[in-house]
């Protein structure tokens, strides 16, 4: 027997969570773009899509975020902090790949110096993931040794039952249990089976790829130049990636006061690593694409023991020139 949350009770649950002070966030289909956003009613959700176009990470690591406010006076500078917005939230209907992405980035934001902007939000968010019953040509979680029903990064995993009538509940953490305790009145015991999760075919042999990447000889392989020839060097892959976390720090304001902000930045940009002298350690697009792949599958795991990719496929899905991690790793598999 498992507990089940029927879709027709979702409105009650939302109301309950909201009255308990939680902001309820989930997949929403906007007029021209889908993403995760706050809703007041269940009707605001769109569970039918394979994956929202915008990644979940932006709710934890927004594209731009104020950090400090400074005021320059004569012989005096005032600095005040911005903290991440306070308030508990529940992300209802995250995808497993997006939830995994959060877990992947935790060690990065936490090693030695803790980035409070990230952890403030992490600590106040409950991630309720819905296992996927649908996938598209770009999904590749299985290739990353994850799955449509991975629990990584989730506090609760829901498995859909037939005809979208509801979800079987699998509570994974205390935080998840607490959140679902709030709505326990609306949950029912049931033995109804879950709809099987979608089968996502494996696209490449990750182990073989990693071995190839770890071989120092391949750092200068001409493969990099060939594969990245059509890369135009935009940042749509990195910005939509649920794990890419690079950022920039910028001041803006007038000459008397302003804001220091943390903005997304990307290893795809030539200026990312450019020294003021003009020297650029990653001066070509192929060096930058190599960095992205190496970082995700060699360097990052070397440091944090986890691949910096959760297999959502957004990089390939959105690429203006139809590139992406999938293609690159597929090609590496062939080498």
């Amino acid at each position: 027997m498992t507990r089940i949350l029927f879709s027709d009770k979702l409105d009650n649950c939302i109301a309950k969570w909201r009255s308990a002070g939680l902001t309820v966030i989930g997949p929403v289909q906007g007029e021209s773009l889908s993403g995760y956003a706050a809703v007041e009613k269940a009707a605001g959700f769109e569970f039918g899509m394979v994956l929202p176009e915008r990644p979940l990470k932006e709710l934890f690591f927004p594209q731009t975020e104020p950090m400090l406010r400074y005021t320059i006076k004569k012989n005096e500078i005032d600095t005040t902090d911005f903290t991440a917005p306070q308030g508990k939230r529940i992300i209802f209907g995250a995808r497993a790949c997006d939830a995994s992405g959060l877990a992947i980035d935790d060690p990065l934001f936490g090693w030695d110096y803790k980035d409070e902007y990230w952890f403030q939000r992490r600590n106040e968010s409950v991630i309720v993931t819905i296992a996927c019953t649908k996938a598209d040509d770009f999904c590749m979680c299985t290739s990353l040794k994850l799955a449509p029903d991975s629990t990584k990064g989730s506090d609760v995993l829901l498995r859909p039952i037939d005809k979208n009538r509801g979800w079987l509940i699998e509570e994974l953490t205390d935080r998840g249990r607490e959140a679902f305790a709030i709505i326990s009145d609306y949950l029912q015991e049931s033995s109804e089976p879950a709809v099987p999760t979608v089968v996502v075919p494996e696209k490449f042999n990750l182990d073989a790829c990693v071995t190839w990447l770890q071989n120092p000889e391949n750092f200068d392989s001409k493969f990099w130049k060939e594969i990245s020839m059509r890369c135009i060097g935009c940042a749509s892959c990195t910005y939509l990636c649920p794990t890419c976390h690079c950022f920039d720090i910028q001041d803006e304001g007038d000459t008397y006061s302003g804001i220091r902000r943390k903005n997304w930045d990307s290893c795809s940009f030539a200026l990312f690593t450019m020294h003021t002298s003009g020297h650029n350690p990653r001066s070509t697009q192929s060096a930058r694409w190599r960095q992205r792949i190496m970082h995700k599958f060699n360097y990052f795991p070397g440091k944090f023991s986890v691949n910096s990719c959760s297999g959502c496929g957004r990089c390939s899905r959105q690429c203006p020139v139809d590139m992406g991690i999938t293609e690159t790793l597929q090609e590496i598999s062939k080498l």
Binding site: M67, L68, Y70, I72, N75, I77, T79, D81, T83, A103, D106, L108, F109, G110, W111, D112, Y113, K114, D115, E116, F119, Q120, R122, N123, T173, D174, R175, P216, F219, H245, C246, F247, D248, I249, Q250, D251, G253, T255, G258, R260, K262, D265, C267, F272, T273, M274, H275, T276, S277, H279, P281, R282, Q291, M294, H295, N298, Y299, F300, G302, K303
Partner: protein
């Protein structure tokens, strides 16, 4: 998992406010500034953590932050000295700042030269151009406790005589009996009254031929100089493990998050900037 991470309630991106108490020009476009902490708590933190080789982010609000080393030694922690070339937005703003003006400092960050391990050994410092500041921090850290080290040799070169920095300190080292200073400028960079060597640093180094026995080498310079100096040191018989260098990469956060300084699996801002030549040789992405 996330539950275990405890908030330290500290904004790691908030800098300390510093007052400029001294400044002077080293070479065309190159300036040294001495900064003092305004908040004693910030100063205490600095005193606790600073060791030679570490760097900081120096900033001007409205313009941003720029990374360079702490050029003063770990034996003198009452102030911070930094030396920089005016080139970008932040360094231009810093160069415009006057004595009495306020700037910001975040750090010290990164790893350090393990100078305790250098005790009893001979030291060879090799530096080029504007990269003398990090070397200078180690040099003074050692000279301030001179008795703990063996022979000290400094090889320093610049493109032209005008480009040599810390000229007054070069004079001081020149005077000292317990320091051997080898100065050089690139061919064509000499002035009529130049009494020292002419030639590129690696060549001059090979001519000076310091002994690798019981010797630690510290190199700081532009990537191209480091590349050829490493080759020269190898020729002279230095073990890669006894050669230290620093990698200078573009940085923004300084705390291992923003991804900019990433070289291979290394975040230079946290695991660097000090590396042994042995470590550098295993990092193809260092692009030396």
């Amino acid at each position: 998992m996330t539950e275990n991470i405890q908030s330290t309630q500290q904004n790691i991106y908030k800098p300390a406010i510093m007052k400029i108490v001294g400044r002077h020009d080293e070479a065309p476009g190159v300036r040294t500034m001495r900064l003092e902490f305004q908040d004693p708590a910030d100063h205490e933190q600095f005193k606790k953590t600073f060791r030679t080789g570490m760097f900081g982010l120096y900033g001007v609000y409205g313009e941003g932050e720029s990374t360079f080393c702490v050029a003063s030694p770990e034996t003198r922690k009452e102030y911070i000295e930094c030396t920089f070339r005016q080139s970008g937005r932040v360094t231009s703003a810093l160069a415009n700042a006057d004595i009495g003006d306020l700037v910001t400092f975040r750090g010290p960050y990164g790893n350090r030269f393990p100078i305790e391990e250098f005790h009893g050994k001979n030291l060879l410092f090799i530096s080029g151009g504007i990269a003398l500041p990090p070397t200078r921090s180690v040099i003074w850290s050692c000279l301030d406790q001179r008795e703990k080290f063996g022979k000290v040799t400094i090889v320093y070169g610049a493109r032209t005589v005008a480009d040599l920095v810390y000229k007054h300190e070069l004079d001081e080292w020149q005077e000292r009996a317990d320091v051997e200073l080898v100065l050089t400028v690139d061919p064509g960079g000499e002035s009529p009254d130049w009494k020292h060597r002419v030639g590129f640093v690696p060549t001059v180094l090979e001519e000076a031929a310091p002994s690798p026995d019981n010797c630690i080498a510290v190199i700081c310079g532009p990537p191209i100089m480091i590349k050829f100096t490493l080759i020269s040191l190898k020729k002279l018989g230095f073990d890669e493990k006894n050669v230290y260098t620093t990698l200078e990469n573009r940085m923004k956060c300084g705390v291992g998050k923003c991804g900019r300084c990433n070289v291979g699996s290394v975040y230079v801002c946290k695991e660097g900037p000090v590396f042994t030549a042995a470590e550098v040789s295993r990092m193809p992405a260092a692009d030396l």
